[in-house]
Assembly symmetry: D4
Homo-oligomer: 253 residues x 8
Amino acid sequence: MSENRVRDLLSQVSDGSLSIEAALEKFKVYPFEDLSFARVDSHRELRCGFPEVIFCAGKTPEEVAQISERILNHSDKLLATRANEKHFQAAKKVAPTAEFHERCGCITVKPESGLETVGGVLIVSAGTSDMPVAEEARVTAEIMGSHVETVYDAGVAGIHRLLGQTERIREANAIVVVAGMEGALASVVGGLADVPVIAVPTSVGYGASFAGIAPLLTMLNSCAAGVSVVNIDNGFGGGYLAAMINRRTRSSQ
Amino acid sequence: MSENRVRDLLSQVSDGSLSIEAALEKFKVYPFEDLSFARVDSHRELRCGFPEVIFCAGKTPEEVAQISERILNHSDKLLATRANEKHFQAAKKVAPTAEFHERCGCITVKPESGLETVGGVLIVSAGTSDMPVAEEARVTAEIMGSHVETVYDAGVAGIHRLLGQTERIREANAIVVVAGMEGALASVVGGLADVPVIAVPTSVGYGASFAGIAPLLTMLNSCAAGVSVVNIDNGFGGGYLAAMINRRTRSSQ
Amino acid sequence: MSENRVRDLLSQVSDGSLSIEAALEKFKVYPFEDLSFARVDSHRELRCGFPEVIFCAGKTPEEVAQISERILNHSDKLLATRANEKHFQAAKKVAPTAEFHERCGCITVKPESGLETVGGVLIVSAGTSDMPVAEEARVTAEIMGSHVETVYDAGVAGIHRLLGQTERIREANAIVVVAGMEGALASVVGGLADVPVIAVPTSVGYGASFAGIAPLLTMLNSCAAGVSVVNIDNGFGGGYLAAMINRRTRSSQ
Amino acid sequence: MSENRVRDLLSQVSDGSLSIEAALEKFKVYPFEDLSFARVDSHRELRCGFPEVIFCAGKTPEEVAQISERILNHSDKLLATRANEKHFQAAKKVAPTAEFHERCGCITVKPESGLETVGGVLIVSAGTSDMPVAEEARVTAEIMGSHVETVYDAGVAGIHRLLGQTERIREANAIVVVAGMEGALASVVGGLADVPVIAVPTSVGYGASFAGIAPLLTMLNSCAAGVSVVNIDNGFGGGYLAAMINRRTRSSQ
Amino acid sequence: MSENRVRDLLSQVSDGSLSIEAALEKFKVYPFEDLSFARVDSHRELRCGFPEVIFCAGKTPEEVAQISERILNHSDKLLATRANEKHFQAAKKVAPTAEFHERCGCITVKPESGLETVGGVLIVSAGTSDMPVAEEARVTAEIMGSHVETVYDAGVAGIHRLLGQTERIREANAIVVVAGMEGALASVVGGLADVPVIAVPTSVGYGASFAGIAPLLTMLNSCAAGVSVVNIDNGFGGGYLAAMINRRTRSSQ
Amino acid sequence: MSENRVRDLLSQVSDGSLSIEAALEKFKVYPFEDLSFARVDSHRELRCGFPEVIFCAGKTPEEVAQISERILNHSDKLLATRANEKHFQAAKKVAPTAEFHERCGCITVKPESGLETVGGVLIVSAGTSDMPVAEEARVTAEIMGSHVETVYDAGVAGIHRLLGQTERIREANAIVVVAGMEGALASVVGGLADVPVIAVPTSVGYGASFAGIAPLLTMLNSCAAGVSVVNIDNGFGGGYLAAMINRRTRSSQ
Amino acid sequence: MSENRVRDLLSQVSDGSLSIEAALEKFKVYPFEDLSFARVDSHRELRCGFPEVIFCAGKTPEEVAQISERILNHSDKLLATRANEKHFQAAKKVAPTAEFHERCGCITVKPESGLETVGGVLIVSAGTSDMPVAEEARVTAEIMGSHVETVYDAGVAGIHRLLGQTERIREANAIVVVAGMEGALASVVGGLADVPVIAVPTSVGYGASFAGIAPLLTMLNSCAAGVSVVNIDNGFGGGYLAAMINRRTRSSQ
Amino acid sequence: MSENRVRDLLSQVSDGSLSIEAALEKFKVYPFEDLSFARVDSHRELRCGFPEVIFCAGKTPEEVAQISERILNHSDKLLATRANEKHFQAAKKVAPTAEFHERCGCITVKPESGLETVGGVLIVSAGTSDMPVAEEARVTAEIMGSHVETVYDAGVAGIHRLLGQTERIREANAIVVVAGMEGALASVVGGLADVPVIAVPTSVGYGASFAGIAPLLTMLNSCAAGVSVVNIDNGFGGGYLAAMINRRTRSSQ
């Protein structure tokens, strides 16, 4: 049901050529089609507080530039993930203030007035090799307006390093735990925290880590309540969800 | 957006208290909610030519009886799968003409005037142990109005038994191939036929058949074009799709 | 380092037989042992706002009764999951007001003053077979003080049923999506919602659902941001996390 | 049993040196061998309405050119899949009108009189990364004589985009759904359509998509009847089957 | 092409109403159908030297009895596998001399003149729990006419027990190795023998033996040439193949 | 080469009928056969300090009793694992002092003079459900002469409970860590200890623990050096290895 | 027990300084050590009728050349598998008559007098992409002295091509079936043949063929008796076993 | 709880402004925070007798150089694994005496006074392709102060090569068994030895070895007691654990 079709029906109701009940019937028999004129994109932005995110893998630099331009027409912020140097160069042409976060392959554009961040998201990672994923989470949560702190290199084999951070764990509104190999970090943090913990397994490791299956299973089986899991290497997903929770948390916490 | 809400809007348009453009805007901002009054069930039946099917596993006999009664209020046919004797006894109370197909656990109610079947669906199965799944496909396709023929016990290890049926394979509008163990039958039939072949892997077998994974993979990798696959032991799915194709096939075929 | 050991050290500092710096050195070399006298349990309850939950599977009725009694000594609420009728009978002896939620195997004890619930958790499930898991989530979230609404039987194959609930999806503070078979419901709800969606895959299904692996993978790969996943059939985990998020959400949302 | 052997037997029957019953016995004891003189190739073409398709992966450009030439000797159409630029250059030498569909790696030769297409195949894909597979399905269905329409980039996370296409979904004779990541699109389309839906999982995604296993399982477990599945990334298989169904569908549909 | 059809054609050739070349053409266009009257069963027995084997799992005692009777009409030997006591009692009614091999669930009927066995098949098994599978292999090879020797309980953890049997390993014409758990026995025997070794993995074990996957993989990866593998727990398959090889081995070996 | 054969050769050497060099050649060409008279069993006992252990699963009570009797003829200790009440009753008849450890299904016979235990093995387990496996490890290590201490119910979600045991972790000669679900305990203990840690994954858990695969992978990927793994639920294996290490550790440790 | 040690013992027996029984005891207590002087290599060649085969993958050209030279010192035949052009050039320097079989990466050296081949091995493969593996089987069986025939490109989707070869299938002493994708060919050939069929799954295929797992499972589950399986892509293993069986088959077959 | 905080509390106790019991309470309520001033690194070295090991994969040469420098400030030994030539060149600048073990990618720095090694670790490997992993184990065990012997190329298919080493197997304090393909070597060595055997599966092999899964499962299922397993290709883990056991073994062994 196109916009024109709806306008027609309404005109007929308006001029009396169609009864209200008859018009009602018309609407009933087209349950879905009247969506075709929905202002989808602007709706989503209003609702989620953040414009569409560009997943650059498999897109040409030109495509990334075009989508960036379209988003920046009605937004003062931009996030593109899984980008490389070429994607960045293309994006820079349409967005001269774009920044490239090389370690995690993210492109961001911040508002001219600077980025205001609130609350507190904590990102904990197990080893230095997990940093690209952890950084993707950090950049994502920040551009979405969250104040972010990080505790990197806090694997469970040296549990004291983690325990020394207990206070920061207690103060966060949401925690992202990034870990490969055996992924036990999520359970330990989950046991110390009483806020949502989003676990991000990484494909870091070798042999029986099976490209992230081992930490994924570990995290899904975590005996600590309050822990949930996103896809392997999905730092963006972890940061996005943490920022969403953080943004909505009562300030009194 | 409830039915009342739409009626209100239409009334306001009708009496001029709301302009057409303003009404249009109202509709635009509620993209989905106007579905809440859709007459879902009757729509589906008209569209698909067959009422809802009852999956009995995990339902009590009483629940099956109640759903059966509701369906038979506006339909003269009924199909319930994965039923046991108790489900049947309960269904019989609300539908005295119900029949129980014990081998495949199906309950059917046919129209009083008898079941008209057209076209041709062929069901080929590999071994006697695959029969429950094959029968579920047969009963499903028949109640949906397809004329069904069967070739059971035609495993590839005795390929001549299958080859002797070439003519029937050529004459069908759609073929369901049901096989466990190594599942090679689908490829062989697919090579002989030039109509859609729906492959149904079964959990029949032991050891490395892994409850149906072996024939499932075999069938997905079939080198014969025109073969597609449904879930392990899903005789209903195979029969349903075959009947759907058969019903729509040009009679000249 | 036992409590007595610490007391000794402090005594020596007090009477001057040990210098402050020397005492400091003593503490440094025993990084962990001073935990042995920590008042673990009371800490946890204060922190999390909810006492320990009893996982009954593998415990005798007597064990469940004893743990229940101990918890109720310092709490007016109780939750026990994966319980059977026998566990309930035993629990009832020590907690006469205990209720048994048969469908999901949960035992609850509510405060005498009644259960106050706030905010809004929405639980959406795909089919009737998913109800035990969905109910475990509901009971858990409620006993933890969340107002819960439910939309059951909203599988994606009949997408209109789900779309009719868009308003409720928009109003929740956190959503638990419970689905077996193909688990696509989490993505669809995630696309409609702008609050955290906790996906709970269930072992409902047959054949290639592999006891929950299929919906688990579907949910982990969800293209909708804001979706995270807990273990297969872990309704408790989903309800717990949703309640935790709900409890902390700003009322203005 | 060679052709000569059969001729001998018939001669002996003809001249009376062998009785009919004795000849009959001779045939009986050679169950398979009499196939050795079957005119295999021409038979197949007549039967299936389409010549052999060339799977280029693992073949040299020269081999592809030679097979192309042989096929075009008795056909005015050609399809080669999984081809690269070098395969195309070689094919062009023997078939100057050959076209290269770069995105999906297909080579086609159309009849001089142009390609007549009938009916309607709809191809729906989830994301831009799925396009190579979707295009392979489109090119295949078209060269086999089907009129094809496409709805690309209609992932379930933005369900409204898909719902806006409901009318086209209703009008198709067969639908190919191409999706990676979580693959939920097949279920949603299957719930809207009442024609056969062929689901093609793709290896698009990362982490727990396991190179296509996640969408494959999702699709096999689809709760929407009428959905069947082909191999991961097998756009050709999906397009071939859709065209086969479309070609045979009654025009009145 | 039915028998009658062939007789008709031959009659026409015989009475001159059909030329030889025309008849030849008729045969050519029905490549497979002339198989429909093939005397399948008797052919197979002549060829393989052994009548059909009954796989009892999933068959009723009556079905087993009927098939047994039919086989014994034209054979003096019978083998039925995966049988239980009830199958045996039913079989005994039609074959009073039937024997039941309880440990492996096999029923055999031997020729009245006694069973002649030749050559040498050696069956080696790892532990006492593997005996049911090993016995199925033994009974199968014996009824097929092979002289069988056994070395049971010769696991690799006590390698000397196996080494003490080197001479018998050297003298066999074919060896069946039956092992669960880690399945290393096949490689060790394969390293000592210079005759075909058929490895039968068993589902014996627990934990990471995954119901036979561990020994299956071990055996497939055996670094000893001359080792091949059959399905998990397929003692029949191992014994059958060993007997087939033994029967055909030159006596001078 | 039988014992008699060796005696013959030696006799010929003794009486001069065979030269030393010729006898040497004879020995060379029979590399393995001379093992057939080795006194296998007594050798093993001397070597390992412990008689053969009986794995009762799949053995009849009578078989267990017979083997027990044979072992006790030349040993004053006995261990039988995976035993049930019936196995125990049968064993008790031949060994009146036999004890049954019901929780882990072990039967032990201790020396009349009592069991001397030395050194220190520590067994740490995650939850009460892991106790049967932990107890199997404890009983095994004790009967093999190790002094055993246990820390049960020390899951990582409540890390303080474990940290309070640091001193005992430091004092052990070998540690067995028994954990199901996510199995993270092994890494945490491995990080605190500087002695060998043997990790025993258990099949405790549900959903994505996949009967022990999740903790198995976690433990194999442990980032703490000094951790090794045995089969799922193999408490015996863990206890045996720990006792072997403990027995051989320098007392000064 | 070194050679010298044995000589010493024999000397003592010879000169009477050691009694026969005492010497016997000495041998008994050293069950394995007396193997250290075994002439391992020459034994193996005599036994197996073929020298060691060189697996070139992971070896340098120089290493391959050195091993080749050593083997050719006492043999007039050589087989090296998984070789590349560089391995061949190096081998050619020490063996000027070496041939390179490029398609399958094999190097062979034949006796100067030419290669005598006997009996009959048949190699059947499904598609052209399976040829490298099929050729490895052919080259292996030939160099081991078997007369080899081949039927390539006989996939089950065009079953008539295979059926036309029935006579050759009946005449072979052993058959190697090489197939990727769905691997159904092994069952079909196994159903036609009454000789050992060795199935070699290949990693040819894509998507759900999972690099050979699909045909591997198909072949392990083959319902045709007499079929056994070797590792994925292990053409050498298939050819070796077929040649071993062929060499030992009675000529009358 | 910072160091300053503790000092404050102690001062107050010292000057009497805080009672001992009150101070005790203060410590109790901060269970973990007092760890923040622990001298983590030096503790670990004292405890484990070996400084931190550098895992070079994923680190830049500069990072490896910096960490090396820091470690060598308080240690005279260094071990870096998974290093390449560039890592080595960078390390050499800060540690001129560094050596590069090319085959296994290890960098070591030995004490100027030379490396003292004691006891006995035996490393047994199956094939030449397993050598990189075996060498990683050897280099690790040696730098940790163990005397190491090696038996390479001792696969079970030629069991005599292994049996000839029985004496060395008996004399070791700990054995590392490195094997890919079918991994049976661990069981055979475990059956011969009465000391701890650490099994290291390798990713060597092809097809159904699945990059090390096959030998991993074999080793986990080993029927020889005393065998435990580390991650696939984890030579370091095997060598580290063996050295740890060896270092602590009583010299009388």
